[in-house]
Amino acid sequence: MCLAYMMNYFPEEVLEHVFDFLASHRDRNAVSLVCQSWYRVERFSREKVFIGNCYAIIPERVIARFPRVRSLTLKGKPHFADFNLVPSDWGGFVLPWIEAMARSGVNLEELRLKRMVVSDESLELLARSFPNLRSLVLVSCEGFTTDGLAAIASNCSVTPLGELAIGDADAMVGLILVLAMITPKVALTLFLMELDLQENEVEDCRGQWLSCFPDSCTSLVSLNFACLKGEVNLAALERLVARNHNLRSLRLNHAVPLDALQKILMQAPQLVDLGTGSYVHDPDSDTYNKLKSAVQKCTSIRSLSGFLEDVAPRCLPAIYPICLNLTSLNLSYASLIHSSELIKLIHHCSQLQRLWILDCIGDKGLGVVASTCKELQELRVFPSDIYGVGSAVVTEEGLVAISAGCPKLNSILYFCQQMTNAALITVAKNCPNFIRFRLCTLNPTIPDPVTMQPLDEGFGAIVQSCKGLKRLSLSGLLTDQVFLYIGMYAEQLEMLSVAFAGNSDKGMLYVLNGCKKLKKLEIRDSPFGNVALLADVGKYETMRSLWMSSCEVTLGACKTLAKKMPRLNVEVINENDLIDASSDDRQKVEKMYLYRTLVGPREDAPEFVWTL
């Protein structure tokens, strides 16, 4: 308090310098609330802005508040859009944002978008309007084609692009960390450095966009186009790699064959993050031998992903020499590697901190991970066969083994066939450091197969023991009891995903009452109704959003809520015209999405979205 008082007498330059050390948005938000002077200083010094919901505010307001913004992160559609629960034309357009920034003369250097609709027009405007753009990261976005990418690439001549990335959100975090470590500051200010395309649905018009990078483009640090489906111009790619000596992160798509990979690696032994494309070759061939020697020189590789196509098993040993260096391994798209090959590979990867893998590794393979990867912090196990032959699966055994063997584990996403309370309790004891715990049983309502009991006690143990838990996804048979535990213990919880769980309104009420830091709550197919929805309407202003689909909420309750809370947008998604607007309010709402906003109902909503 005293310090704050004294700081009022500091010149603003000093304050600004002090604020520079506040990295998190939350801290900066807090600082800006202290007094007018701090507000002003913070306002003019904030360069990185994060907007968790692009409809919570209008771009003009953001620019007015933070006129010196250089880096903008925007999120669009609700999280459940990932699983096709949100109609594709729901909204989430980035164009108004780019237009507004272009009009206001914002000096944008970095744009990160997640779950947004990005048209080619937006990309072209982006390329034209922001000469200092150096980083573009698109995660789970849609609506653009390679033509838009070509626009970005060709503007490198005028405006040096540094990073171009298209891809998955969580991968994004890791990538940024890597880049932060490796990017020379000088280069950052000079050239476009990052293009990161992660898990986007991209229309592939032509494979020539890579050749649109001008010869003068030598600043590229990160290039990720693993999600592009089309062919690429291999010669252009090789030239691009050859002249970008600062390239640290390169993720190729499946169209880049092994012999091209070999040539690229010869050119770029400095790579830190490599995503291979296809990985098929005759292990006795000359190319393969060359690849082996090229890989051996890539001693700086720390992150490996890819193997998007067939993987010839006897070609995998080529990467063994670099495995010991790896801290991150993503084989979650390598659906054709047999578990025995996976296990052999894992044996070489003792330094892994992050592992994404398919469940064909099996419980046995996870046991090997547990005994090999003592540094593991993040594990994701994806289903290899989403419709499920069930030939290769993981169960609670694998999870228990991991928790026993990897004490540093703090983040897990685990798709499995079954889970037991006993296993979850053991996991909770072994790994109290979980920040993210997402468990998904493929059958969403499966009970503990040993006791036939719901998994309440197991998840209860997780929330009780993991004090720092911020994100939790539930699955399996669950009653209201689990929500009682969550409300009681999960004090730091920010995001909760619920599906097919609970018995009554009480369940949801426990969560709303208990989890003070909850930002996002998403619920589907659970028997929560109007009572739960309307019990504490003020709560929603402290949260970013609430999604409820296939629950017991009625149209009338949504109207009541919207009336009471003018600063909430209550959207009813009436996708198949199931609800008749004129008739009675007792109709159930199939999908409801509510979020706090400063701007009122959005104008770009399609017809089937009613903002009440």
Binding site: D82, E201, G230, S332, P383, N421, N443, P444, T445, L477
Partner: protein, 426 residues
């Protein structure tokens, strides 16, 4: 004997995704030769995996996660009595035509054949409660009459057991088990029962006709359970679900399991542009993943790039001969007889193997019986959403009918897991 099936058909057929699944044909001798343990588990999706699940469950119980006091209450006697109880209830339910989850019975599976007694066959015909792997083949009647089709099983005269055997549709997702109300203390479990009842296993023949979306299922179940009082309305829930219009399969739940659409598409269609024409993805590519028992990897082939059956055969031969050369030396474990390249070639060229696929009725059909030109249009109509399973088995017997006796002794099965890469249709 032979065969086990698992068809995930119901699910997949309804799922709307054009994914084609892998199924395998098994024979005990083969399993012996091939180191069947592995094959067994991996091949029999439904029954086998459930079985193993339950075994695992028991194993865990015995181990009790040492030191975990929380589960100490579950001792083996409890479990066995529980099983006993379950069994009784299950039988009751069977007589009620109650539908249940496959695999649930595994833990308490009655070693005596009474569960498979003829008295209950009728129910099982349509609602196979007990996809026990020993029971299915021998006792369950062929559900789907193949009519004038010549199915794979029809052709195997040498294996009487095969005749009249059926492929049971098991809904693997529901290996959870039928819980009985007596062991349920909470309404949550009543809910589960609701789901259980909902996930009726349909004979594959019906799968194509089933059009309800899964969305109705859970909603219905949740409505049911909203009214249900703790556990007591169990039967009501079940019966009402029985009455409910076409039961839906879980896999059809939109958005479950929660896998990003991008990931789903990518895993299903990892390389659709291989068939590019003029830079545009061609409409015609149809990739299937082909696996060979014991081989450590799968290969993907584009069925449309072959113009004849022979071409496909020799392409597969080439793919796997590489494997057999490599593996024979390095992995020649005793009892794990690998085909040498030459042998494989002999077998293939000598037509010792036939390629089969499973049609939508769950019958195994000979690929060679369908004129190649019409095959893909038949199998994969543009709007196909219900083609669930295409599988290839190389099995011995140039003419399956006459050579079937050789099946199992030295035959090598190639299994193909086929995925119809969804967007490939025109």
């Amino acid at each position: 004997m032979l065969v086990i099936e698992l068809v995930l058909g119901c699910n997949r057929a309804l799922s709307g995704g054009n994914s084609l699944k892998i199924l395998r044909l098994m024979s005990p001798p083969l399993m012996g030769v091939e180191g069947g343990g592995q094959g067994n588990v991996s091949c029999m999706a439904s029954s086998a995996s459930m079985d193993s699940v339950s075994q695992k469950g028991l194993g865990l119980k015995e181990r009790n996660y040492l030191g975990l006091s929380d589960c100490s209450s579950v001792d083996s006697s409890t479990v066995s009595s529980l099983s006993e109880e379950n069994k009784i209830n299950l039988n009751l339910k069977a007589t009620e035509l109650r539908l249940g989850l496959p695999g649930s019975q595994s833990p308490e599976r009655d070693p005596e054949p009474n569960l498979l007694s003829s008295g209950k066959l009728d129910e099982k015909l349509w609602f196979p409660l007990i996809p026990s792997k020993d029971g299915i083949c021998s006792s369950v009647q062929k559900v789907v009459v193949s009519g004038n089709k010549r199915g794979y099983s029809d052709t195997i005269d040498g294996l009487p057991e095969m005749k009249g055997s059926m492929f049971i549709e098991g809904n693997w997702m529901f290996n959870a088990a039928v819980t009985d109300s007596e062991t349920q203390k909470s309404a949550g479990q009543a809910k589960f029962s609701g789901n259980a009842g909902m996930n009726v296993m349909l004979p594959s023949g019906l799968s194509g006709t089933q059009t309800t979306t899964m969305k109705d299922g859970p909603t219905k179940a949740s409505q049911e359970r909203a009214h249900a009082t703790n556990g007591t309305s169990h039967n009501k829930v079940n019966s009402s679900n029985n009455n409910a219009s076409p039961p839906a399969a879980k896999a059809q739940v939109v958005g479950w399991p929660p896998i990003r659409a991008y990931r789903k598409n990518t895993l299903a269609t990892s390389s659709k542009n291989n068939d590019e024409v003029d830079g545009k993805p061609g409409p015609g590519a149809l990739f299937v993943k082909v696996s060979m028992d014991g081989a450590p990897y799968l290969r993907k082939v584009d069925l449309r790039s072959y113009s004849t059956y022979q071409e496909l055969s020799s392409a597969l031969e080439k793919m796997f001969s590489c494997f057999t050369i490599g593996q024979c030396g390095s992995q020649g474990a005793p009892g794990r007889e690998m085909l040498s390249e030459s042998k494989l070639r002999d077998l293939l060229h000598g037509s010792e193997y036939v390629l089969t696929y499973e049609d939508k009725d769950g019958d195994w059909m000979l690929v060679g019986d369908v004129p190649w030109e019409t095959r893909w249009s038949l199998l994969f109509p543009a709007a196909c959403a219900t083609w669930d399973a295409l599988r290839f088995h190389y099995t011995s017997g140039s003419k399956p009918v006459s050579r079937a006796a050789g099946l199992g002794s030295n035959s090598k099965f190639f299994d193909a897991c086929a995925r119809n890469l969804s967007e490939l249709g025109p």
